[in-house]
Amino acid sequence: MSGRKKLSDRNIRKLTRSGNSRVVSIPIEMLADLGWREKQKVKAQTAEIVQKSKDMADQQKAVLNILEDVEEEKNKSELIAHDLEKFKLAVENASDHIVITDPEGITLYANKGVEKITGFTKEEVIGKKAGIFNNWGGKMEEKFYAKMWKTIKENKQPFSGEVKNHRKNGEEYIAFASLAPVLSKKGEVLFFVGIERDITKEKQIDKAKSEFVSLASHQLRTPLSTINWYVEMLLAGDAGKLNDEQKNYLDEVYRGNQRMVELVNSLLNVSRLELGTFTIEPELIDITKLADGAVEDLAHNISVKKQKLIKTYDKKIPKIKVDKKLTRMIFENLLSNAVKYSPEKAKISVKITKKLKTVEIIISDTGMGIPIEQQERVFTKLFRADNVRETDTEGTGLGLYIIKQILDQSNGKISFKSEKNKGTSFTINIPLTGMVKKEGTKKLS
């Protein structure tokens, strides 16, 4: 390209700016060169523009996407906020008493229910330990609170139970409390949630119901005694000799009346158990003797049904402190069920063994058993299994409920295994330390 004037941009601009193309004389090869170079440049610039425009379109798309995301996020967080608000309102206005505390039990949040039920304002409880004597708590024994804290704080498990509290005005009330720890992913307690429901009214109704049963039953005992005693005198021939038919009829009257007496006694026992007015008076007793006594009472029924009774007692069953009457009641109840609900020639067994911490009593039969679908209701009041109801009309459905209550309230345990048409086996455990003494006002009869 030597000798050729270099065609720079500047030169070209100079040439074109003069406006006179005529004076411009550009050699042909220079023009060709210019054309080629311009083409290349335009090509490059076009590519660049295309790229830029593409980039811009991409960027725009990205921006739009971001905007869309932002919008979505915004909607989402609005929804969350809305949900949170909803939850907050729900918790705030729930009729139950709801508190949230830190891991030390210091109240962080209390809803309106707390104010309504306890009478303490939020300001009075927030920042203070929840459920202490200075606010609504402190009415239960130390043991209760110790167990509660152990469950939720150490074992990190939910705890629930009935608790006696007091309102700001000093009035006591009964609440059903459910406390639960909220744990972090590492399993540390973040906070506790406590929900309590005032069940004082329900309790009062329950009490009134039991008192009614108790009163009605007492009133029933007088006419029952009248029937008993007059029939007793008639049967003894005090009013003249009876013929066989008259005797038979009166026997039926007497038996019917005895059943009524037993039913009234059971109802009274239920009401005492539910009112908590019954006593447990433990005394040192050889419980194998109590078992023998109950077996003896049933000897007649056992022989009528030609059943076989097998007693297996450990040689060294220690005397333990139990309430004589209640323990006897447990034996009588389980044994009479075994006899009643087993066919002729069935085997009934009473096994008493000493375990590490308890005396274990197993009473089993080869009778009709409890249908599996009804087993969980066995200890509920007035429950009678279908197969039993079909064959025997006499039971009250109170016996097992009563003995379960007795054992529950005296530190004992009862469980059972049963298979329909094969038999049932009840296992009772009474601690070697004995039944817990309970000062009530009424004995079970």
């Binding site: 007492h218 005992r221 007088t222 005694s225 009248t226 007793e232 006694n265 009424k442 009869s445």
Partner: protein
Amino acid sequence: MNCEREKQDKTILVVEDELPLQKAIKLKLEKCGFLTLTARSVEQAINHLKDVEGIDVVWLDHYLLGKETGLEFVEKLKNNKKWKNIPIFIVTNTAGPNKIKTYLRLGVTKYYTKSDCRLEEVINDIRDFLDKE
């Protein structure tokens, strides 16, 4: 039990407010050869004790006519030199264990739930008690 053959010659004061029951107790006791006096309130019972010498046994219910119960009656008996050694048999449907404890502490001889016991059972116990004396 055929009571008619065994003349007892003993007097029992029956304190029971429910008339049909009182009548049944009286009939059965008399069948068994006892002499009976009946009262429905503490006041009536005390009057009998004052009027009649030699009451051997008291058969007593807890709730009676009037304000006073069997418990007050037992206290009155035990605080009286002449009456304090009369054996008392409580036959009632209503006394709880605390009351029973109080009765036993005051020195009554035995306690029964009316609807669970037979007349013969109480009478046999009374007879056994009197025989031992």
